[in-house]
Symmetry: C2
């Protein structure tokens, strides 16, 4: 296996996932700031031009962090970060999609369309007019999540999972880049600090 890596929230998801599994795999840094990910060599790995990408044992190039983490968990099931049973995996996947669609992707698009506009406008399609609405949508969904965290340690309950890693990596990046975490969201704030306290958060 080989991981094509860079800065940004998505690559951090995979690095944290690997660290939690105590796995090390060969890594190639792709110069995203220099636009290397939008050039033919990387587009051949991933026509979306995004990072990270995992080159699998069979030579497939897998992009999209949830797909990469699922693959890693299939090959290295312990410790389970998605789940040890179909029921556990279903609960984790449910939360991962709720976070991905309701928080992570609108948060990232809002950034690409506003604070990140000068960087992204020549690299992908941007819609500046949509940024304020997407930011408000994210805040509404984070407030909803705050209520859902009542009585829970981690996003799915008592298991630390990919859902925690995914949301942590996104909030960690975007809270410093135009979408600060509202201090009124006390449960989200406490959960964020609990993830940050794990050694993997430095990955």
């Amino acid at each position: 296996m080989k991981l094509y890596d860079s800065g940004g929230p998505n690559p951090k998801v995979v690095r944290m996932f690997l660290a939690e599994k105590n796995l090390t795999i060969p890594t190639v840094k792709v110069d995203m700031a220099g636009g290397e990910n939008r050039k033919p060599a990387h587009l051949a790995r991933n026509p979306s031009g995004t990072l990270p990408v995992l080159e699998t044992n069979a030579g497939n190039f897998i992009s999209e962090v949830t797909a990469i983490c699922e693959y890693l968990e299939e090959l290295h099931p312990t410790p389970a970060l998605i789940g040890a049973t179909p029921e556990e995996r279903a609960v984790t996947r449910m939360w991962v999609r709720k976070l991905d669609l309701g928080i992570c992707e609108p948060m990232a698009n809002a950034f690409r369309f506003s604070e990140g506009l000068s960087f992204f406008r020549d690299r992908l399609h941007t819609e500046p007019e949509a940024a304020p609405g997407l930011k408000r949508l994210v805040q509404v969904n984070l407030k909803w999540l705050d209520a859902q965290l009542e009585g829970k340690t981690w996003i799915v309950g008592s298991r630390f999972t990919l859902a925690d890693i995914l949301l942590y990596a996104f909030i960690n990046f975007f809270s410093k880049n135009g979408q600060p975490l509202d201090p009124a969201l006390e449960r989200v704030g406490a959960w964020f600090q609990a993830v940050k306290a794990r050694p993997s958060s430095a990955s």
Copy 2:
């Protein structure tokens, strides 16, 4: 198992998935038009208030169609609609997330914020100002997908998968509701007709 079902694109994904697997499970219709999904009985099943929801054998309530379909595939692996190997599953999951984030969710949000506004404005958070930008983003991503379909029968290549079902259900619904499929996207158009020709598309 028990499926809580309704109209709309997401529930259709699960019904098509079940039909392709030749599975029948007990189904309860929830009156989405009448707002039953936003009342306490359904919110106890799914705090997001969305449909469908699968009640599993162990009594968990699973929302989010990708999580539901993964669970169904784990219990009924044949025919494989996600994949028969970790490599196959990784490729399918990669495409499912590309479609979910780049096309399906912005398409659905654009609808909720425009043609669907009078229905949704009292049911969830809406951002009308973001609708035109999200619609344009979807068109850009569909054009990208059209190029990716060159030489392929299905989204991932030669295997019919959850990726096809997901995108079909969304285009089928929203192309009749304010986001018509651009006839210039010839490969997407041919692919759409190929999915429509499968008996499961009537589910």
